[in-house]
Subunit: 425 residues, 3 copies
């Protein structure tokens, strides 16, 4: 049971547990990860057979790996999958043989600028094999030949993804999506995954007006699979956010949906603006994470993306340096708080109509003033709420136009509601 | 008979006459005020019985006051309604008895920061009594008890408001609304009231395309009463302006309507921009004066508000310092001129269609050029007028888009009209 | 045959040939000019009889001139049409007689601020005669009388204009219009005329999606005549540009169409923005050249105007100083290149629909990646093209939204097309 008041620490500890698992876009690593998440809040786990056509794509064969190494002529493992799962190019096909140094180097990736870091490489959609090593390891490969072994399997199986669906009073749903396919990389994207599951846990216990859906799926192919299997229900979606890189110390970046000013965009920008955190908002572009798929022409679902460090723009991106030291509980907590606020704001996006009176209602006669405590701000919030509640403005819209905190608007709306002055539409 | 060329002085003199009257939201003070305004231009005066339901509100009992005082044990009036009507909390219920100093102080209001000023307080919608005094007066109340007397009545009667309706060629109307409920306060709002009546007088003698309506009603309850009684005719309203605080020396502020870019807003902003006066335009907010009611959700009538000093933002606001020395003829005149220009611009908002020719008409063949006097600006104004006159742009729109003075556009339109080159739509 | 790679020089040489001809809004000067243009690319030449009603206008009598002079009492030509055709007020009626110096001076125009320049004056629509001289010439007219002769004719004839219509796959057409009525003035507007004919020649040899129309017509009356005679086909027009003053060294100015954000406006602004040239974009106003007529209320055809020096804003405007030294091949070449790019961009304004897959198509499975050469920009261009190709965004729109060069977007679209991933709509 995770305590809400130290959710940053809880997220961090969950990341610690999940960090060693070797995930990929298919295979047991994803299953183990989803199993662990199930302990936080029950997930519905889906298995989709390899070869299934999903939109324009085909679900690939399933990849699993047990071990991998490069041995020198002494039999020493000079590169060892057991010490870091990034050492193997993700989706490498099985191999075991002696190769010349020259051939080996064609299959070895390193980062000359960061001699101690191991890069993260994949070969999802072409049959290949390879190793990722630190530049220092690479420099020490001086023998003329090495034995290489990748004890993997790449065979028909399944693609696995999970989702938590929390029905609300309304079928309209908000989707939180995080890619679950990366191996030992903390910020990208165990941070997103773990914050999402803790948000799911938190909101599973709260009354909900909007339905919430949390998706844990492998990048690209997972989102496409989900879209293909749920196309009949996409019109229920109010909007969504993809989560990534939420544990580091960078300022926040919100990447807008394709539409750019959807409810989710406005709510997210507002959550950021009223937060104490440094941030910026950027326009949509068709790169990054699964917001690419959700926003594509046939769907145009308004999905934004929330991140701290931006993919490809920080050195540690897709390297072994994106480890447990690159993130911390404090920044995870901030990210959680921000998203929690966003969900809460959207949950509170009630649309009201001014119920009594067509001009301002007579607050005095109705005894409303004592409830407003002589608080000038609260009174102003009440006037704004009454003025804008014509059925077309949510409380978030009231907060935006009045430039007052949503919490104050909600407080005012609650009081006005108590006096039957608002009517939800 | 008021001379147009010194209307600022006339407004000031009218304010001087009306200043001593003790107005409130009901009662004889309003009636006397409207009577005096009737001498400038005839008003239709309406009396609405107490208890009448108007939208969500009830017309309150009528309040009248004859005298009030606080006497010391020598029988001296240490506070005297006859010396300033602000001394009584407006709508105080009748009382006459001896009270302890302690009890008295619970009913006495002062302004410690301005020891010589008397505050203005009301108790419209709760039964109460009270006095407003200068801090110096308060400090001198050292006796242990005082006799207090408020010789008022608070009984079923009527709410009174007045209006001047000046029909134009069209039923479309522009509304000028000013609250008439304040006692001895000059800027707020005898300035608005007196400028309005002088504008009514001026326009009563001029040909009018638009109809004009001038409303003189008590704040809030008056506007709500008028809305309730005229709801079938509200669709005739092109827009309106509430007038307040127009006699002091502050720069102008135009507060936009809820819609923000209605015809009235654009015309008002344009009048200000082309005036020599310092000014700013601010967005609507549901506080201030009766624009709150006109812009409320069920009506959304585009009413802006014109003011100099802004309510609650100047020290003299709602105090005895808002007296005859706080305003002056020069600034009243500027306010009048600005509003007169606004009305004139709206009266001149003709919509034309280019009548002859679909491209530019052949001005030379038609002998138009001599009428344009070789004046390059006038010629340009004519070209803009011809170009934009497609039935959807008024002359004001032409002025806005061309960024030329409306007077020049009007002059050009008049010339083009003479040559049958424009057709009014 | 003009070589594309030195089109600036070719334009300059063509201007040199056309410079001596005395053009006007009618007459043989226009015919000779159009004849010469016919050698570059065949024109369809139209002759419209004097007196023909065209919209609100009447086609005027035709003006031709053979000679003109002012002779002193020695019989010397002190002002000689043969030395400069600007010496005669364009459309002067014939005259030959002795006039007093006083009478002569009423018919003589000069530029005191530029004592060596001859002004350009016209008298199209009123019967008059006159001479234009340098201030120095004027100062030397000291005799008491002179013989003046203008050997012109002003009689029923025709108005002449030419057009090149290059049909494309689509009937939608782009119009390039340049006024052809000015006598010996280089920048205004032999520069526009010659660049237009060279563009016509260039595009006559290229495949075209859009149809192209190049109009060479006298100012105002020519455009109006064309509009009157082609009103049934105006709905085919996507947009147009008037060309003027394109040979001098000023930065570019693009004057937007009345609409302001039409396809042509956005394409023109984009061409400028992606060009290396200094430039600005200004809003439409109903003065300048024939964009006035095309944008008039009954038509509202989105015609912008491209220029370097702006009419009336440079000293040489409408004077003999607008000669062959005021323009140069380099700046003509830039103007040509810019317009060529604009036409090309519009020709390439294909509207596609993402053909395969509703989210991103599986580029890997389809073997697209090798064609993208591992070029990150090209890959991004492909993703943008796929993302925005929903049938409502042209490739130009893709370039705008992605802020990538149109050439890269086109390259990406070509590759995607090859893999059947785009479907033209």
């Amino acid at each position: 049971m995770i305590r809400r008041d130290d959710v940053g620490q809880s997220a961090y500890e969950l990341i610690e547990e999940l960090y060693p698992i070797c995930r990929s876009i298919t295979g047991d690593g994803v299953r183990q990860t989803l199993d662990r998440l199930c302990n936080v809040v029950p997930l519905q786990v889906h298995e989709v057979p390899s070869g299934t056509r999903v939109l324009d794509w085909l679900v690939p064969d399933e990849w699993n790996i047990r071990d991998a190494w490069i041995k020198d002529d002494q039999g020493n493992r000079v590169v060892d999958f057991r010490s870091h799962n990034l050492h193997v190019v993700n989706y490498s096909e099985p191999i075991q043989r002696v190769v010349s140094r020259t051939e080996l180097l064609e299959h070895v990736h390193s980062l000359p600028d960061h001699p101690d870091w191991i890069p993260y490489r994949t070969a999802y959609y072409k049959r290949d094999w390879g190793f990722c090593v630190s530049q220092r390891q690479l420099d020490s490969l001086k023998q003329s030949q090495y034995e290489v072994c990748i004890d993997s399997s790449l065979e028909p199986g399944h693609l696995t993804y999970g989702e938590v669906y929390l029905p609300g009073e309304s079928e309209r749903e908000l989707v939180i999506s995080s890619h679950v396919c990366h191996p030992s990389l903390c910020n990208d994207n165990l941070s997103g995954v773990c914050i999402a599951i803790l948000l799911a846990q938190h909101w599973s216990k709260l009354p909900r007006r909007l339905s919430l859906r949390f998706l844990f799926a492998p990048g690209t192919i997972g989102a496409i699979t989900w879209l293909a299997r749920n196309r009949d229900q996409l019109d229920r979606i109010l909007g969504g956010v993809t989560l990534t890189c939420l544990g580091d110390k960078s300022p926040f970046t919100y990447k807008r949906s394709w539409v750019g000013d959807s409810t989710i965009d406005r709510a997210a920008e507002r959550s950021l603006k009223t937060s104490p955190y440094e941030h910026k908002c950027i326009d949509f572009f068709p790169y990054g994470y699964d917001e690419r798929q959700y926003n594509s022409p046939a769907f145009r679902l308004p999905f934004g993306s929330l991140m701290r460090a931006r993919h490809q723009q920080f050195d540690e991106y897709h390297t072994s340096a994106d480890d447990l030291s690159f993130i911390d509980p404090t920044h995870l907590q901030q990210s959680y708080d921000l998203l929690n606020q966003l969900i809460q704001d959207l949950q509170n996006s009630h649309y009201f109509r001014n119920a009594a009176g067509e001009a301002e209602p007579q607050l005095g006669r109705r005894g409303v003033f004592p409830s407003l405590n002589g608080d000038a701000d609260l009174q102003m919030a009440a006037l704004w709420t009454l003025n804008l509640s014509d059925g077309n403005n949510s409380l978030v819209d009231v907060a935006e136009r009045s430039n007052m905190p949503i919490s104050l608007i909600e407080q005012a709306a609650k009081i006005l509601n108590r006096f039957d002055l608002l009517m939800e539409v």
